[in-house]
């Protein structure tokens, strides 16, 4: 699971950096970053769900698209209203990412110690 995720991430990064050359207007850059953050959050969530054995592709994909759009939209709305709404997205997504990562970490630690006691 880790290998697949990291491989995808690396390939995507390389693709964006070297192959694709999408010119992003300066005022859109922060929204795009937020969308990327939301995507990262969903990806970690999917990882955790897969480890817990309740991975649903439809939930995963729809969550990815909707979260990314919602985060950017919220930030855009906040900019128009003069309220730093993007902070809400950053805090929520960041907090959830930490939570998911800690659960993932615990899962692998558990497995490792199990394997050691057995072996």
């Amino acid at each position: 699971m880790i290998a697949i995720g990291m491989l995808g991430l690396l390939l995507g990064l390389l693709l964006a950096y070297l192959v694709l050359d999408i010119p992003i207007p300066a005022e859109w850059a922060s929204y795009l970053s937020l969308a990327a953050l939301a995507g990262l959050d969903t990806a970690f969530g999917g990882w955790r769900a897969a480890l817990e054995g309740r991975f649903h592709p439809d939930v995963f994909v729809s969550g990815f698209v909707v979260n990314a759009l919602l985060a950017s939209l919220l930030a855009y709305l906040g900019d128009r209203m003069g309220v730093d709404l993007f902070l809400a997205a950053v805090v929520t997504l960041g907090g959830r990412m930490f939570l998911n990562l800690s659960i993932i970490r615990r899962y692998y630690l558990n497995q490792w110690s199990l394997r050691r006691t057995r072996g």
Partner: protein
């Protein structure tokens, strides 16, 4: 779970990570480009606010300088009411300050407005090769100032910036610095002197303004004025390097 659905699951997982990677890559690239262009995307409104505030502070301080210098003049005058000696001293002091441009002055003179042409030559025409003719340059101002001084102008200001002995007029990118103050078109030049002489000097055929008028007569606006007010110089009057030579050395 069947092997097939497991593989489909992994494929989706891989694709999502791929997309996340791509998104991150594009976002990072965009941010990197912003940083290299030195455009702090989220801090622009703050910077704009700070800029306006600083500008206001500078203006207030310049006003204070003006007021304080006026006050010193008043104090010097008050001090000079005593003996004849102090009066003579003060007279020469005030004359020196007039010459240095530290006193706000008024008198007859002219007002000259130079602005960039609004005409834009059509692309590809021979005129479009000479775009620089359609804008006012630092050397235009320099030549005008030189001509005005030659015609006996006693005080000159560009957009309210008094020209003194240490003043520089210099083009920096799209703006012109006068006394280290940024300004752009239109340039309003005030000069005190004999209006007829000054007007004549500027209007001379083949003179400083004729080239500009030939391009677009709307770039130049020249009026004689009965009363022109020219503010005092508000910049630094400190000398860092030059020191007066002691008088006995001069005598040798």
């Amino acid at each position: 779970m069947t092997a097939e659905s497991k593989r489909a699951q992994w494929l989706i997982f891989f694709i999502i990570w791929l997309v996340v990677g791509a998104l991150l890559g594009v976002a990072l690239k965009a941010q990197f480009r912003l940083h290299t262009a030195e455009l702090p995307s989220t801090r622009l409104p703050e910077l704009a606010r700070a800029y306006v505030q600083e500008k206001r502070t500078v203006q207030a301080m310049e006003n204070e300088i003006r007021q304080l210098r006026q006050k010193t003049t008043e104090l010097e005058n008050a001090l000079a009411t005593g003996t004849k000696q102090t009066k003579v001293l003060n007279d020469s002091l005030q004359a020196a300050k007039m010459l240095a441009g530290l006193v706000e002055v008024e008198g007859p003179g002219i007002e000259l407005i130079l602005r960039d042409s609004e005409r834009r030559p059509t692309f590809g025409s021979p005129e479009s090769q000479l775009m620089e003719l359609y804008i006012i340059h630092d050397y235009d101002l320099l030549r005008v100032v030189n001509e005005l001084r030659q015609a006996g102008a006693e005080a000159i200001a560009i957009n309210g910036q008094r020209l003194v002995a240490t003043s520089a007029i210099r083009c920096v990118g799209p703006v012109i610095y006068v006394n280290d103050i940024k300004m752009a078109s239109p340039f309003v030049i005030h000069a005190i002197g004999d209006p007829n002489t000054l007007m004549g000097a500027l209007k001379t055929p083949g003179g400083v303004l004729s080239d500009i008028i030939d391009v677009d007569s709307k770039m130049v606006e020249l009026h004689a004025r009965d009363k022109v007010r020219i503010p005092a110089y508000t910049g630094s009057t400190q000398f860092r390097f030059a020191k007066p030579v002691p008088s006995e050395e001069v005598a040798k």
